[in-house]
């Protein structure tokens, strides 16, 4: 030991200093203020959500309690007191279907390739980087892509009766928009699968696909599902790309049936209805808009909540 300080000295001074250090500053004012500020920040963020939801429910309550049935099953009208959301709900439903049918298999497939198959080559790194950047491209730019490709170039295919301004164009555009989100969340879910699971599979002679299909995918399924539901919610809430691909903003009759042969016709969707109504004057339209927002929020936030709960449930189970 290299301690050279005489024990007597240590005994005299140090304990006093240490005691002061340990017991002093009991009232840590700066720390408390800091913590209060932080809690304030959290409270403000949560309060915004609260105020928003309260404001919408409050404003829309007249419509929601007075004529909810009509409101959900009626069509667009020129009078706020008669207008309904059915055409918008149908459009948003089909956009969800397109997302699930196109973005889900392709996205999960791409994630499987990147996580399970690809060696860490330059190509796969580039694909990975590219997907991350695609996730950050503004939605309105995807709208331009949809306009150029699905409406203009493929119009006779995506909507012969609507010059391409159809649900097919909208659905495909939004499927492309959420594809990066599906790939990223699915990749994360696959990465969380323990390597030992794969080793065990290879050990008994299974091929890579057999291991992936029978062991990795079932294990990663909850995570993948969560990502898909989040992507679905995102797609159903997007408006900007729909404006570009030509959703109807004025009046539309028909467009209420679920019959898939009407997918090439002109369409509208919930976020578009909200945008259009938001621009109309007077308290009645404001009420109708708020009520439409409550309906959209119920759909979108429910999807979000389900996804979050699902994830938390499985996170807990696996520790």
């Amino acid at each position: 030991m290299a301690l050279t300080t005489p024990a007597a000295q240590v005994g005299a001074i140090v304990p006093e200093q240490v005691r002061r250090q340990l017991t002093g500053r009991r009232s840590d004012t700066a720390g408390r203020i800091f913590q209060a500020v932080l809690i304030g920040a959290v409270a403000a963020s949560v309060a915004v959500l609260g105020v928003l939801v309260y404001d919408m429910v409050q404003t829309g309550s007249g419509t929601l309690t007075g004529r909810l049935g009509d409101f959900l099953t009626g069509s667009l009208r020129s009078q706020p007191g008669e207008s309904g959301l059915l055409q918008g709900l149908r459009g948003t439903f089909y956009i969800g279907v397109f997302t699930v049918v196109f973005a889900f298999p392709i996205g999960v497939g791409a994630a499987i390739y990147l996580e399970e198959y690809a060696s860490k080559s330059r190509l796969s790194r580039f694909i990975d980087l590219n997907i991350r950047n695609l996730a950050g491209v503004p939605s309105v730019v995807y709208g331009i892509l949809g306009l150029a490709i699905f409406v203009k170039a493929l119009g006779s295919f995506t909507g012969p009766s609507s010059q391409g301004r159809s649900l097919i164009s909208a659905g495909l555009t939004l499927a492309i928009l959420v594809l990066p989100i599906v790939i990223i969340t699915a990749s994360e879910a696959l990465r969380a699968v323990p390597g030992s699971l794969r080793e065990a599979g290879y050990g008994v002679g299974a091929t890579r696909w057999e291991v992936t299909r029978d062991h990795v995918l079932p294990y990663a399924a909850p995570g993948i599902l969560t990502g898909t539901v989040l992507a679905l919610a995102r797609a159903m809430g997007e408006a900007a790309p729909l404006i570009l691909v030509g959703a109807v903003t004025g009046f539309l009759s028909g467009g209420t049936e679920l019959d898939p042969t009407t997918l090439g016709d002109r369409f509208t969707a919930m976020p578009i209805i909200i945008t259009t109504w938001a621009g109309r004057p007077g308290p009645e339209w404001e009420q109708a808009t708020a009520a439409a927002i409550v309906v959209l929020l119920v759909v979108v936030l429910l999807a979000n909540a389900v996804a979050i709960l699902l994830r938390n449930h499985y996170e807990k189970k696996r520790g």
């Binding site: 009208r77 020129s78 196109f102 009766s161 609507s162 097919i168 009759s253 009407t262 997918l263 090439g264």
Partner: protein, 325 residues
Amino acid sequence: MSRTRRRLRSAALLLPVVLVAAACVRDTETVVVSGSSTVEPISIAVAEGFADERDEVSISVDGPGTGDGFELFCDGLIDINDASSKIKPEQIEQCEDGGVDFIELQIANDGIAVLTNPENEAVDCLTLADLYALVGPESQGFTSWSDAEDLAAELGSGTELPEAPLDVTGPGEESGTFASFVELVIEEFNEDRSQEATTRPDYQASSDDNIILQGVGGSATSFGWVGFAFAAGAEGVKILEVDGGEGCVAPTPETIADGSYPISRPLFIYVNADAAAEEPVLEAFVDFYLHDAIDAVADVGYVPLSDEDLAATRERWASRTTGAA
């Protein structure tokens, strides 16, 4: 792999194909209306009535503006173009290039209301020269009402304009209200002064009439113009009288219908003649528009046609007279 699983898998693979292919097998009865946002409420009211009677028909009505509407119309992309100003020679040419014959039908009258804020007591009536001086092509950079006084005086107006900030809000160039304003006000003066037939570029422009009303209500010394129907029911704006050379006239349904209010205009629908001949549903829709539903004009706040004018319109449709009148 079990049989059900295999079936499920092939179903999953087929679904995307089915979704996209589905659209190609169908040709519904559709009527597509676009064009002026001023005429849009009339067409929507008519379309509603028509859709209530025939629920198998799909009708869409949009209101991007008369000019944008003609672009679509002359390419044959829409059946009817709502127009708040008469078709222009270059638009006629465009329709000829696109091979589209049209039937021009006047359906209503509208006045353009010139607005300011109710707090602006210094101004009650403006001459056409004042209007040109305030927002014409030579007014670029005028930030105060009084900046326009010399120019207005030069054009023969004696109105005293206040020394107050000039905040201008109006429709954008795509709008029929813009085109009518230029036609009815600016074109009175611009050629003699070798100026372009347009307004100053430096003002807040919106295709949404409500945003214009907001803009006018938002400043105490604002200036703006919108269709009479929008201004008549609006709160927070003051409608100015206009002097077209025969004294100050306030816009009312009467002064607009008889043309004594200087900035009034007819509203039209332009029907694709070939489409009307080929598609019974379009023909039925226009019939409905001109007979059963013509009251919609008054319902949504415009000035109905006189009996003679309405008879003339119906006759034009009955004989399918193409071209501009």
